[in-house]
Amino acid sequence: MSIQTIKSIDGIRFSIWSPTEVRKYSVAEITAPETYDEDGMPVQGGLMDGRLGTLEPGQKCLTCGNTVARCPGHFGHIELAEPVLHIAFIDNIHKLLQSTCRSCARLKVPQEDLDEFKKIKEKQAAYTIISQKRIPEQIIEKAKKAKTCPHCGKAQYELIFTKPTIFVEKTEIGEHRLLPITIREMFSQILDEDLKLLAYDPVTARPEWFILQALPVAPVTVRPSIILETGIRSEDDLTHKMVDIIRVNQRLKESKEAGTPPLIVQDLVDLLQYHTTTYFDNEVSGIPQAHHRSGRPLKTLTQRLKGKEGRFRGSLSGKRVDFSSRTVISPDPNLDLSEVGVPEAVAMKLTIPEIITEWNIKRMKDLVINGPDTFPGVNYIVRPDGVKIRLDFVEDRSTIAETLEIGYLVERHLADGDIVMFNRQPSLHQMSIMAHYVRVLPGKTFRLHPSVCPPYNADFDGDEMNLHVPQSEEARAEAILLMRVQDQLISPRYGGPIIGALRDFVTGAYLLTKDDTVLTIQEFSNLAMLGSYAGQLPKPGTKVDGTPVYTGKQLFSLFLPKDFNYVITSKWSKGTKGAEKDVVIKNGELISGVIDKSSIGAEEPESVLHRIAKDYGNDIGKKFLNSILIMVKQFITHYGFSYGYSDLEVPEKDRQKISDDLAQSYDVVFDFISQHKNGTLKLTRGMKPEEALEVNIVNELGQARDKAGSTADQSFDHTNAGRIMATTGARGSALNIGQMAGALGQQSRRGNRLIEGYSNRALPHYKEKDNSPDAHGFVKSNYRDGLSALEFFFHAMGGREGLVDTAVRTQQSGYMQRRLINALEHIRLEYDGTVRDPHGHIIQFLYGEDGIDVAKSDHGEAFNVNRLIESQTIIDSGKKATKDEINDFTKKYTKTFNPRLTRLVTENLLESKLSRNGVEAVCKKGLLLYNKAKVEPGQAVGIITAQSIGEPGTQMTLRTFHFAGIKERNVTLGLPRLIELVDARKKPVTPAMDIYLEDDGKQSREKAVEIARNVLQTKVSALLAHVDTDYATSIRFALSPQRLSDRGCTVKDVEEALQPNKKFKVTTTDTLVTLNLEGEPDAQTVIAIRNKALNVTVKGVPDIERITLLKENDQWVIQTTGSNIAKVLEVEGIDKNNLKTNNVFEIASTLGIEAARNALISELNATLEDQGLEVDSRYIMLVSDLMCSRGYMQQIGRHGIAGTKDSVLARAAFEITVPTIAHAALAGEVEKLKGITENVIVGNNIPIGSGTVDLYMQVSKKR
């Protein structure tokens, strides 16, 4: 056996090639602009020189002698006639020119300061890690300002940088261009020590190497030429660009030798600079793009690397794979939940390698005889010597089957029972890829059980899905252990079931379990068998006309675990205002109530399904669901359930009522309008009359719609299919029924009625300023009767908003998800329970602060104490345990628990009626469950966090400017707010504060108003009656006494506020404030002065634009629009300790990083909660802890966490690819390959999850 040495990459160092290195690595100097000669042979010294590598098969490389497969290609070089600047380093060149002395090349910072910085750098003290990183920018900032060099005393000149490549110095004699050659000269004199201070690594990157003297020529393998069908060679874009460079270089060289006037030579140098610039980057602003003959811009080096389809994201982070397939999906409720139906045609292309053993040789021989075109068959045979036989070309398969021996490998067709991975994009969470068992079926689509649609977010309107076949035993084992559908029943986002009954399954369950459903013995046994019930038949529960029959509830009960007890209120009961807690299951018997969405539905935490999956394990949970679903499906199929036009027929009496009610509402609206005209409309505080009218109309019309809807809804009896579906939660809602049978209601755009589109009207069919409901999109028809043309148009207007919103939202939330993943992908749980990045930086000391895995938790709790006690109570006997006994037990068993859980357990036990033994049993079971629910080391907690926050983003509404508390204040909510928070913006779009008051302010309104006045910013402009401007002498502000008293200001206040301005003198007479202008300013200055004076703050806190007083929990609270926490804290009478703002950044600077973390958590929670999305608090804590882990708020994105990652490759793969690499080169950074992206890029296993585990062996020492 030969031992293969496997080389693995330890790290990658980035550096810049010096001209010497360029020449050293070059195998050929390229001088000829031609590529191939007439015979089609590569020109010697041309761009396709044979020494640069091989392209055609069979051809041997002139340098290394290898053929295409093994020759890596070799670099050549071009000697440039004049040096040119490297565009990727242009910013660094600029900064260096600004900060170094033009004559002595030292940093223009006094030596003492440099020494100081050096000391900080050399001290290497742990607490300087942040300050060290700021040294370069501080030095550059200082050096830029120096007028003379502190080292040699020479005067420094102003530098003008014209983008992209021209530097000009402004000297006493005039403007003087700095040529690359001079820049190079200057840079070569910069001291290594100075460079180190600027975070350069002088060994790997001297700044003079930013100026190119020799240009490397990429190997031909990087820029292969292709031969078109016509036989014409077509060269790569890079080759084209190189040809340009060589041509200009040649001309430049010749004209220099010929002594051409310098002006023309300079033009040629500039041209050479242009060509080299576009060779590196063809999207530089300020210069024209280089185009192909066809007009298409050339794709040069930078363009190859960056962007979604670039090398990093397109070819390195994402690779195409074999053993995969994709086709349309369709539903099949007869499948098992964990199965996927694979078309035979697909099964015959996808193969599984199987080694022949004693035990499978017979089966394999049969498969080989079947061959590649008969299912089940074999496509390839691999002999132990490595020879691969393709069975397509084998004439006689039975002979070859006979030659099969143990140890041969057979690539057989996919067959029933194989494990495969099934995926639907976008893969927003871990349940987007699950392992299914194969079921080979006829047809051309992948089949899946309708109940696994929610985790994939799939439907069957043409969706396609992908299927991957794991090829190794390890991969299959991992898939079976971690990824099967039954292991994904519980969503890690909220610790509840994500898979469950849907649509008709729910309806069916209701129809089966409702009180009057009876089944004959035949029906009962058939259905029980279908649900794979294998026990004895129970006794029929009731009699109809003397014959014993079973109830539907009995059938359902067959599949419940025998010791299962449970109580819940069904959705149906809530919808029909029935009894609470109607569903009662006692000892595995459904006693009362109907089974509907709240018992077995998808995405319903605390349901029967959830309890079974949690208490009895995922496999039993899946089995239960499978049995119920298939049975219920059969039942509803035979029962016959449909919904159609006739089910929406409303009796004439109710139709009349609907139209009467609508007419009445119209009258009310018209009444509002006339009241508005007369000015008698009752105004709500803080609203203009128009706004108040609008609000009134919208409210009235909303009520009208609801009333019409409920009239229609009520007219249907409880056997109406629509009502059944709506009340059981199978599909639709009462609102939908109302819209179909009652009235459609108000159509809206951005939450408002359709007010304008044409001048003063929504559509040209109405009169201008017609304010009637009809004119602004109120649809009084319903879907059943049909809409009028105008109504239809309004409806389409509203409908379009929905479409646009969805399109925009998917983009925004997709990008947010990408950023979250990038920031968190490398965060994992370590063996000591801490959460760290791969470089050892601690993010949390204990995951989620309690070390519990949400996916293994019970709706966020380690275990459900109440349930444990409940089920124990049923079997418990004996007298109640004493308080001391309970305390003893809890002390003994809850040692490892966190304080909250211990308290929870103790409190609940004390309240229970359990005996001594019962208490101990509960404690024991609790401890067991607690230990099971802990997170496992290696867990990719970061990725799960990112998914749990990103995935709900897609479900959020985009633009809900929603009125919080009072109608006057609107606050950003939904997706924009979520993005704003993870962006760590300096200022939210709608800053707002809640100010609570101290002592008397809480109760007395007067006191509260006084404080509010001190908070609200009052500018001079808010106090004026009118302004009178004399452009020559003075500005006169006439103050309004009414406004002064409203704001609690005096004339004196205004005078004092204006005093500090030196441009005028203030004099006051009564309420007239006169600003006597100094000097003789022109009109424009007067206007400027006046505007400035109008904006002067007289009273209150800057930035607090509006305030509202409201009573909350019996105390006065000031709500503000605008936030300025630092200044509000100075106001007397407020409750400083409970001051709230939604500006997290402000909190970080006034209350500290820990407060910011808490504020961030509460804001994230509030945003998600408002949208009705459940996300476990552990995820929100992790994101917040990560964002605050460096002592300041870091953004989730390129300027924050993703941008400060240690890995060069990970940063380059995220965004700003080329500058990242350029910077890595000049700092001599080393890629240590510890994170995720890096290892994907180089093709290693990723160090997370099951990849964290390594096998080490201790070699025993010889004695």
Binding site: Y127, P899, S1149, E1154
Partner: protein
């Protein structure tokens, strides 16, 4: 990140958890417990308003006692760094 002059400090704000300086010996123990270098801990600036009144210097370790929705109470450590 700097602190403004005359800033009002609110160490008892509902959002500000308890910050304490950890003694040198205890700091050693913490580092040992988590087997890490000080730079691998979460950081806090010396100028952070929550620790301004405590007389901290760069290099100190701060123990933070947080209220936790999951655990009731939890400990967090931050290493004090220069701005």
């Amino acid at each position: 990140m700097g602190v403004k002059k005359n800033q009002v400090l609110v160490p008892d704000h509902a959002f500000v958890p308890k910050h304490e300086i950890v003694s040198k010996e205890d700091a050693e123990k913490v580092l040992k417990k988590f087997n890490c270098k000080p730079t691998e801990l979460p950081l806090i600036f010396v100028t952070d308003p929550a620790i301004l009144g405590l007389g901290v210097k760069p290099g100190d370790l701060i123990k933070i006692t947080r209220k936790s929705p999951t655990a009731g109470e939890s400990l967090y450590y931050r290493y004090v760094v220069e701005v």
